[in-house]
């Protein structure tokens, strides 16, 4: 049987050793009579080997720690979820009680003042949150790094950099629309800031940090539940903050305390529901 005409695809398949042996012999016989084509294929082979040589060293490079972590979650996914669920279940009883007390209290500010007096000093993260709010909330052109239209990217990015899932709560029912978020330097590492605005254009920021070790220890030593809402004031900015497990949350706005308390309880509710 006469060999069928040789195609361009088959010439490449020869270079890449993807031809059936029988066909390979036919193509090689044809090339013996077509030196120009043979030279072209020889060049392709050379370039292929050169590409392999050029990038081979990457295979032997040490894998950066960040990539090792990304490839291997610290704990299996489902266990991580479960542990988080237990933690939330444990604190939400106490938290619910605190919240209920706060919201039902006829004189909220008195209760908050009392809490304020109980605490020795506002933790550094609450102050940083207030400063971050003061710095970024007046920004007109670029209040956020990634806007709410790309919320999925925002979530992926911040989760990656924070090393834990970071999803912004949705606060439309409280009158605040998500504008987006950004990553900020905290005392020791990255901090996430989500920005919201109400219809009048005034902004509210939610600041999420890992750096609460000292604050959590302080509140435990004061024999208080880990989870309690606290209030601080930094210039014109009011801050509602709380520590929940490894995370510190601070909600900052130039809004009044009652508004912040209302939004904080909703933020907590949504975080606990996850």
């Amino acid at each position: 049987m006469k060999p069928s005409p040789i195609t361009e695809a088959e010439l490449h398949a020869l270079v890449d050793a993807q031809l059936a042996p029988e066909r390979q012999r036919e193509v090689e016989a044809w090339l013996a009579e077509h030196p120009e084509e043979a030279q072209r294929l020889a060049d392709y082979r050379t370039h292929k080997r050169a590409l392999q040589m050029l990038f081979k060293p990457v295979l032997d490079e040490a894998v950066p720690l960040s990539l090792q972590r990304a490839a291997q979650p610290r704990r299996p996914w489902h266990l991580q979820r479960m542990a988080a669920g237990f933690a939330l279940a444990l604190v939400s009883g106490a938290a619910g009680w605190v919240l209920h007390a706060q919201l039902a209290a006829p004189d909220l500010s008195a209760l908050l003042a009392q809490q304020h007096a109980q605490q020795q000093e506002e933790p550094a993260f609450a102050r940083r949150a207030a400063v971050a709010h003061a710095v970024y909330s007046p920004e007109l052109r670029r209040p956020v790094e990634v806007d709410a239209a790309h919320e999925d990217q925002l979530v992926a990015w911040l989760s990656k950099r924070m090393g834990s899932p970071m999803k912004p709560p949705h606060l439309q029912a409280q009158g605040y629309a998500l504008e987006g978020g950004r990553l900020l330097p905290g005392g020791q590492g990255p901090v996430a800031q989500f920005m919201y605005r109400d219809e009048a254009g005034s902004r509210l920021t939610l600041y999420v940090t890992h750096e609460t070790g000292a604050a959590a220890a302080a509140s435990r030593s004061a024999s208080q539940p880990d989870l309690a809402f606290r209030f601080a004031r930094e210039g014109a900015v009011n801050v509602f903050y709380w520590v929940d497990g490894p995370f510190g949350y601070a909600l900052s706005a130039e809004a009044d305390r009652a508004t912040l308390a209302r939004v904080s309880s909703e933020v907590y509710r949504q975080l606990a529901a996850r």
Binding site: E8, A9, H12, A13, D16, Q18, R40, D43, Y44, H47, K48, A50, L51, Q52, M53, L54, F55, K56, V58, L59, D60, E61, V63, P64, S66, L67, Q68, A70, A71, Q72, P73, P76, W77, H78, R142, E145, V146, H150, Q153, A156, W157, S159, K160, R182
Partner: protein
């Protein structure tokens, strides 16, 4: 189940890095790998149904790379772009080293041709695997491979002369 899969994902990292390094600039390559791993974990529920893990992972990287090229500025937009000085770009290497030349020539290939050429050359994928990874028909794989190889050959032929002139000087 995931306990068994995790080391397996780690074992793909060197090859994902190699491909990313060849595909994107070296500053973006590890971000691309990191994003690929994140995405793979986010879709971990699909793993049991994935027949060809390599095609699946490289396919994820391909999609992320295409996305990043479509909106290259978004993830790294700086706060005060207007106030920042221009970042000086390192002068191009002019050593005349064949491998550096190859890198430069590779960077001149259209992204579509580059991807096919790299998967065939570095990963030594079969054409069918390339088609599956990139989500394109086999015929498209072959035409991109053919055009990419020929273009690279012309670029390198042109460069060889340029290098020779440098040596004389």
């Amino acid at each position: 189940m995931h306990d068994d899969e995790a080391p397996q994902l780690l074992s793909w990292v060197p090859r994902l890095r190699r491909y990313a390094r060849a595909l994107a600039s070296s500053s973006e390559a590890d971000d691309l790998v990191q994003d690929t791993l994140e995405r793979a974990w986010a879709k971990a529920a699909l793993w049991p149904g994935v027949g060809d893990m390599r095609a699946w992972l490289f396919g994820i990287m391909h999609n992320l790379h295409v996305d990043a090229l479509r909106r290259p500025r978004l993830p790294t937009e700086s706060l005060d772009e207007d106030d920042m000085p221009e970042i000086p770009v390192a002068p191009k290497q002019d050593e005349g080293l064949a491998l550096l030349d190859l890198q430069a020539a590779l960077d001149l290939l259209p992204r579509e041709q580059k991807e096919v050429l790299l998967l065939v050359s570095l990963e030594e994928m079969s054409y069918a695997e390339v088609a599956q990874t990139l989500g394109i028909p086999l015929g498209t794989v072959m035409s991109r491979l053919s055009r990419g190889r020929e273009r690279l050959r012309r670029l390198l032929a042109g460069r060889a002369e340029a290098v020779h002139l440098k040596v004389v000087k």
